[in-house]
Symmetry: C2
Subunit: 391 residues, 2 copies
């Protein structure tokens, strides 16, 4: 049910392009996944996601567990039927959200206990429970429960979190049905892991904060698991840009070449490029959509502007000349600015469509450049633009 | 530039169907105009309005005067270019909004002075000023400044408001360019009234609260003006249903048969039917769109439900079986309810599309029934359904 095929490799870096097949269709890598926290990419429809160029969406286990509850979604036939998005769906494990609750979350060796930020109710996440929630959701790619620590955590904290994360990876795998032939010591081949609900692929998550030996240990551990892909977590959580790149350089060479690598929560254009350069295949981030809801929009080379700026008051130009998105095809900056000034959600929606179109085109450009052999020029162009904007 | 052609008359009532031609295309009457207060029908695009069946939209002079200002819209090429809606647009005069400000508005014989509810700034509306604002906006159909009084106003209040409204109608007409041959005492033929900005048709407004003689006087006065249509204002502002129908029965027979009659601010399905029955052609109301943003949706025969209702928690059905709107084509009640529970604007948008589709289909049904000779049965069906729901 799951198959990852690398179709092209860059000559000068670890970048590669590929196709990942899932029970709900395939997507091309490197890929960007828009975030549909509550089973909806805010302000837009599945049809619009597809029209912008979206191939796979992400939904949040933590949020859906609280509202409307995974049992309701199971009753409704799973996330695909519920949302009317019939392409691939990836769900995270809720680990990141739970551990972001701070004092409202207590972590034990076997589980995390937390209070709902909505109503204060008490909840428990075990690795098994999180798998079951995702089985209810019926997503195509599911994540293990992991413990994500801050980028500047102490070694002691990072190590004990990694101990738990590794144990939880094994328990998650054991909990998925066709786990019988799993041997945690041996190096497995990529498998579609059968669940009771539908075919689902579990990705384990590399942790270890910025400690090279912990990251190496975690990468080797994940590489040894019989899964269809591996995620890299605990990144872009406050560590320096230098550490960010260092960790990627440590981790990716230790991961199986023939499995997709998913870098969780990373979506800054330059970060994406530098991660692709180091062999990463999948990305998700709230940036394009959240930015849009606050009036931010992408222009050339990842530059950002804000539509509320008085500069655009009488500007008849589209956000980006030649852009094929519904915002740029229909409306001026002046009108879009007006929509934000009057606090009209149509503005948020149009900017969301623009930013998603922008980032999907950006990923397309990355894939094309890998095929054409000019990926390094692309990275250089974006790096120079980023430097320029810092001046 | 403006032409109203009656294409069919009902045999048993004053109902008629027709086509009204404007510089931005024609629309079929009886028509419902969705309200785009700030030059946007909340949550949806012009393309979507059209796809739902919309033929003409309304925008509010008062709101646009405050934000973004009519000069800005003129600079941007007028409302049609600004909003990307290329069909007919009607703008009101702001009278209703200004006089709704209560103590923040002072009325003089020649003008109204008011404070902006946004920033407390002082503004003056004269009949001429309101015409100029609408010339800046470049709408197709423009309204005179009128004084709209409450449904239970005293005769003294209603009469002096009518005095002003009539004087302001003449001044508005005089202020529009090709006004030279206007004779307030004679009965004019319908004219497209040239403005400096573009071809615009001015509608005078019948007022007079619920006083039969005042309404008659106002209707005769408006009938005598050389305009392309006549509006009926000060309705559905707190008067009884009985008075509402009585006024319509008084007024419409006194209006020229060959001009469209526009009943301002009325949009309850049964009210529309009963007004069409009495010879009204045009309607506008915030009901379908505002209702949608609060979770309300229309089902058969104008019945309303609310999507937040826990009844729909696991309901796999669309809002209305067989409905061709994007909400009903893609999503279950359970999912739409979920969107409202998480406060996601996509839900408001989908219900807006549903309610507009519903009301445009309703108007289509009215027009068809007038052609088919079964309009009175349609009214009866809705009247019975309304009675039933009251029991």
């Amino acid at each position: 049910m799951f198959e990852f095929k690398i179709t092209r490799k860059d000559q000068h870096s670890a970048a590669r392009r590929g196709i990942f097949r899932t029970p709900h269709g395939e997507f091309r890598t490197p890929i960007f996944m828009p975030v549909g926290t509550y089973a909806a990419v805010k302000t837009i429809t599945p049809e619009e996601i597809r029209a912008c160029g979206g191939e796979i969406i992400l939904a949040n286990t933590f949020h859906l567990h609280l509202r409307p509850g995974s049992e309701l979604i199971r009753e409704m036939g799973g996330l695909h039927k519920f949302t009317a998005w019939n392409g691939p769906i990836l769900t995270d494990s809720g680990g990141f959200q739970v551990f972001s609750l701070g004092k409202f979350c207590k972590i034990y060796d076997d589980y995390a206990e937390f209070r709902s930020p909505l109503d204060g109710s008490k909840h428990v996440f075990t690795p098994q429970k999180v798998i079951e929630i995702q089985q209810n959701l019926g997503s195509d790619i599911v994540m293990q429960l992991d413990e994500c620590v801050a980028g500047d955590s102490s070694r002691r904290v990072a190590e004990s979190a990694l101990d738990r994360t590794e144990r939880w990876a094994e328990e998650s795998l054991r909990h998925i049905n066709c786990f019988n032939d799993f041997n945690p010591k041996g190096r497995g081949r990529p498998l579609g892991l059968k669940s009771t609900k539908s075919e689902q692929a579990l990705f384990p998550i590399v942790q270890g904060a910025t400690f090279p030996d912990l990251r190496r240990r975690s990468a080797r551990f994940c590489a040894g698991l019989p899964t269809s892909g591996v995620a890299i977590g605990g990144m872009a959580v406050g560590e320096s840009k230098r550490d960010f790149l260092k960790v990627l350089e440590l981790v990716t060479p230790l991961l199986p070449i023939n499995k997709p690598r998913y870098l969780m929560g990373v979506g800054e254009p330059l970060d994406i490029l530098q991660a692709v350069e180091r062999g990463v295949d999948m990305f998700d981030c709230v940036i394009p959509t959240r930015l849009a809801r606050h009036g931010g929009f992408f222009t050339e080379l990842g530059k950002r502007e804000n539509i509320r700026n008085a500069t655009w008051k009488l500007d008849k130009r589209p956000l980006v000349a030649g852009c094929q998105c519904p915002a740029c095809q229909g409306f001026s900056r002046a009108y879009l600015r007006h929509l934000f000034v009057i606090n009209e959600s149509l503005g948020q929606r149009l900017l969301t469509l623009h930013n998603l179109t922008w980032i999907f085109n950006f990923m397309k450009e990355i894939r094309k450049s890998i095929s054409n052999g000019d990926f390094s020029q692309l990275v250089r162009r974006y790096r120079q633009a980023a430097k320029k904007s810092l001046r």
